[in-house]
């Protein structure tokens, strides 16, 4: 019963960036907060991310980017998610995202942007709320 309610989260590392400390900490923390987490590993193309999201039937797609390529990668990933009919997934981005790029990412449909120093509790709370709102809508 409780299992059916579990929020399913895909944690993905798009692009060629190898900085995965944050992604792994987040994956583990969200698991500790009772979510079902699928971690893709490094070097995921937008297609691969959307494919995993579809296969795993996730509620949330989280992408961790620290190489500065977010403005190129995120729109491609959003397009792939839409193509696969996943426009309902909550999309969040973490990593090194300068403040001045936040608005552009939100315009693309990113719901949450989390920089270094974000407490994992805050992230978990955000996800729970965002998923509940999507489901209610």
């Amino acid at each position: 019963m409780a299992d059916e309610q579990k929020i399913r989260v895909l944690v993905a590392k798009p692009g060629l960036d190898g900085h995965d400390r944050g992604a792994k900490v987040v994956a583990r923390a969200l698991r500790d907060y009772g979510m079902e987490v699928i971690y893709t590993g490094l070097r995921q193309t937008p297609e691969m991310i959307a494919q995993s999201a579809l296969q795993e039937d996730v509620d949330v797609v989280g992408m961790s980017i620290l190489s500065g390529a977010h403005l190129e990668i995120v729109p491609l990933a959003m397009e792939q998610l839409r193509e696969k009919g996943l426009e309902n997934a909550v999309v969040i981005v973490g990593g090194i995202i300068p403040e001045e790029d936040h608005e552009a990412l939100r315009q693309m449909g990113v719901q949450g942007i989390f920089g270094p120093g974000t407490p994992t509790q805050e992230l978990a709370d955000f996800i729970k709320k965002a998923v509940a709102e999507k489901k209610a809508a």
């Binding site: 692009g15 583990r28 490094l42 190489s67 990668i73 090194i96 300068p98 920089g115 120093g117």
Partner: protein, 552 residues
């Protein structure tokens, strides 16, 4: 009651009554490596320790106090700031400027496609060209990068690993075209693949063929480029991924052991190459543990080289290292605090006896640092070198009861890990089993929990929080640069002799499939203007591609 005559007496007569009235801040004081710290250290703690065996003198085995007899009294450490710009042209311009300012060492940061063996116009490179460094797809780009710079007169450090043989081949090819004496070339390639699987992630091939390419470089350079530093065995990325200080020493030296063993197995004599090995460590903010870390690493490596590998040349036993301050400790919150953190970390590296140092800029976590921020980072080093006085005496903390205790404890802790890795079959086998990765993740997660629980204070993040101004004026990469780069590459494919390219690539394939040294074939390929993507694709066919060892 008089003054205490021993630590025990002091503990019983003085400390215990005091504690009843004034309890301490913490129940246990621990270093990042979990080493318990007592109230105070005294001569009692050093009883039975042989000074000559444990410490010795600078420039002498076991090199605890430093690798040179003069250290910074002779020459200040090399201040080497690592940076890359979005194009070969812009980077070349910067190099000319730096050389005019009297700098003799260059440092190259490559973009991710170059590091992972993709051409700038490949689909995998989309959005990444020129982002974290300079894009180099062919010898033509490398010729632009070093245009007008006599390669036999400078030393160049290249942060390159999986594609190190390709970039080294290009460097040699440019030098040959300049008419330089190749045997005089001086520089460093990072070329440390093991830490890529453990922590950094820019691998291409599986570990075993990667080790073979590494030893090919050792072999080739021992004969052709005797002044070249063929590897920089890196703990930096291991620490950045979340390890403790003890794990940083252990996993780095265990990698070192694997490289030395591989080179010996490939038929090299230990003293023929071991003096060219160099190391790269992180400097964290926990000042005294860090100082002890560098000292412990030096002693442990010297002992390993002497006892385990029976090196005879003292140079083979010296752990020479570059240090970078810890990028992961930089915070987005209250960014000015980063300047202070970096200064403490730099001080740790200097008190630890580093040979060269990169200090991070306050905005470095966000982007290629701005000029003002780079200048301040460099000034931090100059201030430590010329105002603080710490460079005037060798190993000034040597003999501190506490620092010696930490040094001994870290060495013992690191040794335990190395024994464990030996039991698992060595660094490479342990990586394949996910051992180091798992250990690092445990430490990283513990740190995260400690910060969130408030057990570990990060000023401005979980304590002393206040509003802070956003960092402005971040450097941006102009997308036009990537376009220029891909156009140049397309034009090159038109104008080069493609039959010659195919022939060279086939020679490389044959060398890679045999046990021949691959370096001459790499040089043939780049001289024919084969691209990095073509070369690596050919090798992907021979060696296969590494699949990530997922450990969560």
């Amino acid at each position: 009651m008089g003054t205490s005559r021993s630590k025990q007496e002091w503990l019983e007569n003085k400390l215990e009554p005091a504690l009843k009235k004034f309890p301490e801040r913490e129940e246990h004081f621990l270093t990042t490596s979990g080493i318990e710290i007592e109230d105070v250290y005294a001569p009692d703690d050093r009883e039975g320790v042989d000074y000559n065996e444990k410490l010795g003198y600078p420039g002498e085995f076991p090199f605890t106090r430093g690798v040179q007899p003069t250290m910074y009294r002779g020459r200040i450490w090399t201040m080497r700031q690592y940076a890359g710009f979005a194009s070969a042209e812009a980077t070349n311009k910067r190099y000319h400027y730096l050389l005019e300012q009297g700098q003799t060492g260059l440092s190259v940061a490559f973009d991710l496609p170059t590091q992972i063996g993709y051409d700038s116009d490949s689909p995998q490179a989309k959005g990444e060209v020129g982002k974290v460094g300079v894009p180099i797809s062919s010898l033509e780009d490398m010729e632009i990068l070093f245009k007008g710079i006599p390669l036999d007169k400078v030393s160049t450090s290249m942060t390159i690993n999986s594609t190190a043989p390709v970039l080294l081949a290009m460097y040699i090819a440019v030098a040959k075209k300049q008419g330089a004496d190749v045997s005089k070339l001086n520089g460093t390639i990072q070329n440390d693949l093991l830490k890529e699987y453990i922590a950094r992630g820019t691998y291409i091939f599986p570990p075993r063929p990667s080790m073979r390419l590494t030893t090919d470089i050792f072999h080739y350079c021992a004969r052709e480029l005797p002044q070249w530093n063929t590897i920089s065995i890196s703990g930096y990325h291991i620490r950045e991924a979340g390890s403790t200080a003890a794990q940083e020493i252990a996993f780095t030296l265990a990698d070192g052991i694997a490289y030395v063993q591989a080179a010996i197995d490939a038929g090299l004599d230990v003293d023929e190459f071991a003096g060219r090995l160099s190391f790269f460590f992180a400097a964290n903010t926990n000042l005294l543990e860090e100082v002890a870390k560098f000292r412990a690493a030096r002693r442990l490596w010297a002992t390993i080289m002497k006892d385990r590998f029976e090196a005879k040349d003292p140079r083979s036993m010296m752990l020479r290292f570059h240090t970078q301050t810890c990028g992961h400790t930089l915070t987005a919150q209250q960014p000015d605090n980063n300047v202070v953190r970096t200064a403490i970390q730099a001080l740790a590296a200097i008190l630890g006896g580093t040979q060269s140092l990169h200090t991070n800029s306050r905005d470095e976590a966000y982007a290629t640092p701005s000029e003002d921020a780079v200048t301040l980072a460099l000034r931090t080093q100059q201030l430590l070198a010329y105002e603080s006085g710490v460079a005037d005496c060798i190993d000034p903390l040597g003999g501190s009861y506490f620092v010696e205790y930490l040094t001994d404890s870290l060495e013992a802790e690191a040794k335990k890990y190395i024994d464990r890795i030996d039991e698992l079959g060595g660094a490479l086998a342990a990586i394949e089993q996910g051992f180091q990765q798992r250990e690092i993740q445990e430490s990283s997660y513990r740190t995260q929990k400690d910060i969130e629980g408030g057990n570990k204070v990060v000023v401005g993040v979980n304590k002393f929080v206040s509003p802070y101004p956003e960092i402005k004026g971040l450097l941006r990469v102009d997308p036009a640069e990537a376009e220029k780069q891909t156009k140049r590459l397309a034009a090159l494919r038109e104008k080069r002799d493609n039959a010659q390219v195919t022939e060279a690539l086939n020679r490389l394939k044959a060398a890679a499939s045999s046990t021949d040294n691959t370096m001459p074939a790499f040089i043939d390929c780049v001289e024919a203007y084969a691209t990095i993507g073509e070369i690596c694709d050919m090798l992907r066919g021979v060696f296969g591609e590494q699949k990530e060892i997922l450990v969560i």
